[in-house]
Symmetry: C2
């Protein structure tokens, strides 16, 4: 039995097939161009695998996840050119007569981390801090967000005293979480790309202060057993700074145990969380 | 069949018995003194009602709600004098041989609003803004917070430009949500009690800016179908200001429908949400 994974990003698609143990058997990446061309490439890829039994799609958004909506399975009004109002799930269903699961990119990653966590956990939040900022939360195997997917990337934060003049770069909100810590903020703040800014630069402390607040808000409003940070901005050294700021902000108010186990990098390496998550979701959809 | 409700506050206890339709049949209030005296009063009260079949307690905290914990049913390390490490649930169980439910004060109120909502809803967050700030969230009939109860009162917020010099009054965090908007902040900011500060005073706009952020963070991180605000600070006129600030902050990013239905006062009048919630929880515990 083979399971299919589509990790649909605004820049690239990653399609993969895996076995029942969620091991990758085959994998392909291609650039996200027009919907017609890109989705057809995904279809052509999976058509090669006759043993495929189910597919899970975790997609960039915003997407419609309310099953009773006429637009269920669509990418809705995205800033990504050509992709607004794309019936992604419908296109796949027209090509494959099998169960197909539909969820957000961060939910796919969250599920991958949930099923591969080193300890048995009941709840987990997965943040991605990259081109954008988003998060998915699982509680007892179910995604948080009954009426749609939350957009925690746009919460407001207490500003760092050394960063008060930076207006933030979110086109909707200016200095929301995403507008303060997504990858492109390095260019906006320093004129350099993030990978060229050494971790000794104070801008990383400012970033850590905000990301720690994101973790704090999550603890205080959801209290998951673990918070995982993925995405291009995150490294283990950066998370050390985040843990430090988190401790300062929390001030011993809620004990979440050892912060090294509570705020972590993904267990699945090489950005593979969503692929594993999709395999697991595809298998669950079959059952 | 009669159902029992204990709304245990740090200032007073409200005990009530109600029928299967959650109508109050009898009700008593008394001051919160020592644990021994106060809990005995609750016991004596309920002993009068031979038809009592179940009790639900929604208590001030922090409380232990993890069932596998040795301290399950306790009020843990509260600043309330004499009450730290009080085995509240155990005391009641020693006196009554019937199902007894144990949850937080805000969860009790959230459940009361959930079962009395005018429309059928799947999820709801209830905030109290009074002496302290807290919230309870229900999703599909279950409380959010598997490993303990969240403490959303202590999230950080973007500061209002006209309020930057106010340090906040939370002993743990200074300018967290509670430190910025709980009832006693009126005294700290203006030297007057909240009920003596007219709604035309700019301090109410500042309060609304922060409370709107609390609602916004809730929408963006949990996306409940409804957010209810109770507690002494809240009025319908104040919520109008909150809705205005919420709209500005959200900037059309997520459509939650008519804000008049999304951000509301409690449906149950006269601070009765927790009593109704307890009756409903007691009945559920019986089933």
């Amino acid at each position: 039995m083979l399971l299919g994974s589509i990790e649909a990003g605004g820049t690239k698609f990653v399609c993969a097939v895996g076995d029942e143990n969620f091991q990758v058997i085959n994998r392909i990446e291609f650039k996200t161009t027009t919907p017609a061309e890109t989705l057809q490439k995904a279809v052509d890829y999976f058509k090669q695998f006759t043993e495929l039994k189910a597919i899970s799609i975790s997609s960039f958004g915003p997407i419609e996840i309310i099953k009773t909506s006429a637009k269920y399975g669509y990418i809705t009004d995205t800033p990504k050119i050509n992709w607004s109002n794309t019936d992604f799930l419908g296109f796949m269903k027209n090509n494959f007569n099998m169960p197909i699961l539909w969820t957000t990119d961060v939910n796919g990653s969250a599920y991958g981390e949930y099923v591969t966590a080193n300890e048995k956990i009941k709840s987990l939040t997965y943040y991605t801090i990259g081109t954008g900022v988003g998060a998915g939360t699982l509680i007892n195997g179910k995604f948080l967000g009954e009426t749609g997917h939350p957009e925690i990337g746009h919460i407001r934060l207490k500003r760092h005293p050394d960063d008060l003049n930076f207006p933030g770069i979110c086109p909707y909100h200016g200095d929301c979480l995403e507008g303060l810590v997504c990858g492109p903020t390095f260019q906006a703040r320093t004129g350099h790309r993030g990978e060229d800014v050494p971790l000794s630069d104070h801008v990383w402390d400012i970033m850590a202060y905000y990301v720690a607040q994101a973790a704090l808000q999550t603890t205080l409003s959801i209290l998951p057993e673990k918070i995982v940070f993925g995405g291009g901005v995150v490294s283990e050294q950066f998370l050390d700074k985040v843990r430090y700021e988190y401790n300062q902000l929390m001030n011993d108010y809620i004990d979440v145990g050892d912060l090294e186990n509570y705020i972590t990098m993904p267990t699945v390496k090489n950005n593979g969380s969503a692929t594993v998550g999709n395999f697991a979701l595809a298998r669950r959809k079959l059952e």
